[in-house]
Symmetry: C2
Subunit: 108 residues, 2 copies
């Protein structure tokens, strides 16, 4: 993230455990990245997954309403459904309000 | 996480980029895990790092005061200092209040 996330923004934490089935996972993931980038109020995200299938994605939003609009996006809804049917053994989601924000960048 | 994180709990999101120096990183990490587990109000954490050095750790807490107490722990302060001096090229930290929480677990 090039600039710190502002206090008052919102974060969606998504902790997931992947199953060893692909069945459109990669292409749906790419499509969701295209789609989310067009969403009003989307501020960016970080995503990391380890070899064992455990992953954490954090996305940042201007407001709670923007998060709801993305959740209810029709194409995203289909992807969420396929996630529960096929791609994940389980996941935890927390919708949070950012109350403090810090950044450290090493000096060259 | 075996149970969902309750609404009203707090999350600390730590997004970091590691440097290719160890110099006590692994043993300090293990010590911090021991220490944090004893902290009042600590509810658990998830931590994932990719090969390129990008990592996300999310820890969960009962209250903002519990987060401050952990931040100000003397041994933890030393570790934070060494993080800035040695181990990280940069990091972003957000302290957040959990406003909504969901869990999906695949049925066997």
């Amino acid at each position: 993230m090039s600039t710190p996330i502002p206090v008052g923004a919102w974060a969606v934490i998504f902790i997931s455990k992947r199953r060893e089935v692909d069945q459109g996972y990669a292409e749906t993931g790419e499509r969701m990245l295209e789609l989310v980038a067009e969403q009003p109020g989307y501020l960016g995200h970080h995503s990391v997954r380890e070899q064992d299938g455990t992953g954490i994605t954090v996305s940042y939003w201007r407001s709670e309403e923007d998060i709801r609009a993305w959740r209810d996006n029709a194409e995203h809804r289909l992807a969420q459904q396929r996630g529960r049917e096929l791609w994940y053994d389980g996941f935890d989601t927390q919708v949070c309000r950012v109350e403090r924000s810090y950044q450290f960048v090493r000096k060259p």
